[in-house]
Amino acid sequence: MGFLSSTVGRKILMAITGFLLLTFLCIHLLGNSFIYLGWINAYGERLHSMPPVVWAARIGMVILLAVHIFFGIKLTLENNAARPQAYAVKKNVRATFAGRTMIWTGLLIAAFLIYHLLHFTLRMTNPEISSGIDAMGRLDVFKMIVLSFKNILISGAYIAALIAVGLHIFHGIQSVVQTIGLNSDKTLPCVESTGRGIAFILFLGYASIPLVIIFGLLNFKG
């Protein structure tokens, strides 16, 4: 029996792709945090001066997402089919809301990703603020971000998506450790709380940017 048709093999694939997506989330947050240091335009320019790196990352992300989404949907459909008749009364003692909504938070992330790319990467949704040039002749990423997040609807959409991401990895991080077989009775509680802690920190890190802008702590003086 092949790795990809095995119940464990496919889970391991979900865990590896999920973990690599998580690594991306961490790197991306590090990049975003340059906004607080005033380096975001320089960072953007530097990144885009290396097209091979950017394209390798993009292609890598597409492959990771494709595999993760394909098997995520397949596993979920199988899991739902495994209990055709629901209980009249069912209490979950241990399973979390985050864990039981992985497919929904996942699909929300996918939908958000499309918007996110249209917004900041292709700059199609708000062209009036997205093509500014700063004093040094670079694309004005800072202006684009600050003016976007001044819009409460845009900020709201980002924060909602971040809640979905946060919930997804709240369950996901500890799940990776279990799936690749690194847990014991002793490590499980610690792995669970660490995973939840990391999820919370990533959520706060990302959400801080729209929040700080909405509350006027970070302004664009054009």
Binding site: S6, T7, V8, K11, N79, A82, A88, Q178, T179, G181
Partner: protein, 246 residues
């Protein structure tokens, strides 16, 4: 005490089923849950009605036959307790109790609360054995097994195959059961020989039977009347990785 029961009634595998309400009267707190159902059934016999069909055998918590989801929790939610070992002192006068069968595609319903759990037997038949000739019983200490390994194997062997893990799992997965059976053998020298093949065929059989995949909710661990731990699932995953890189 008097109790209001809502029990799943279904004549056969393909008949429609529904929750039916019964009143259990004069129940002593010292009765076991199954004895309480016996009382209800005796009343039904007196009234000339069809009794509630439920599975049971040893009634001492070792055979794994009794299989009821009580108020939404397999085996009723008392720590490490099978339905037959659950006592009525856990309930109060006037309580409503919902009683349903294990629900999983791989456990076809036979009648009322009885399901066919032979899918679990077929998982064991697929690989839960040692086929190399082990000869006569070896002399004591001829095969050295570290005490901690023997303990883990014995802990895994506590699984009584009741299927409560499947009933509890939001995905109807039999991963905890399969993991216990895999671990029990993989920890011992005799079982190591076929460990790689075993983990593959047993998990394959699990999927074939229509059980779901594990999503690491750990709901199974809380439902298990024998305290089988999800660390055995991590162990199964390790065994699978070892088998794949071989």
């Amino acid at each position: 005490m008097d109790l209001k029961l809502y029990v799943w009634r279904q004549k056969g595998p393909d008949s429609p089923g529904k929750l039916e309400q019964f009143t259990a009267k004069n129940i002593s707190p010292d009765m076991s849950f199954l004895e309480m159902l016996d009382e209800v059934n005796e009343e039904l016999v007196k009234e000339g009605k069809e009794t509630i069909a439920f599975d049971h055998d040893c009634r001492e918590g070792i055979c794994g036959t009794c299989s009821q989801v009580i108020n939404g929790i397999p085996h009723g939610g008392q720590d490490k307790t099978t339905v037959c070992q659950l006592h009525m002192r856990k309930f109060k006068d006037g309580d409503s109790i919902y009683i349903e069968p294990w629900r999983a595609k791989a456990f076809p319903l036979v009648k009322d609360l009885i399901v066919d759990r032979s899918a679990l037997d077929r998982i064991i038949q697929a690989g839960g054995y040692v086929s190399n000739h082990t000869g006569g019983s070896p002399d004591g200490n001829a095969i050295l097994i570290p005490k901690p390994d023997a303990e883990v194997s014995m802990d895994a062997a506590e699984c009584i195959g009741c299927g409560g893990c499947v009933a509890a799992c939001p995905n109807g997965s039999a991963m905890l059961f399969t993991a216990a059976k895999v671990t029990q053998l993989a920890m011992l020298p005799q079982g190591k020989v076929e460990a790689a093949q075993r983990v593959c065929v047993m998990t394959e059989q699990m999927l074939k039977e229509g059980f779901g995949n594990c999503s690491n909710h750990y709901e199974c661990q809380d439902a298990c009347p024998k305290g089988i731990k999800v660390s055995f699932i991590a162990k199964l995953n390790r065994e699978f990785i070892k088998a794949s890189v071989k």
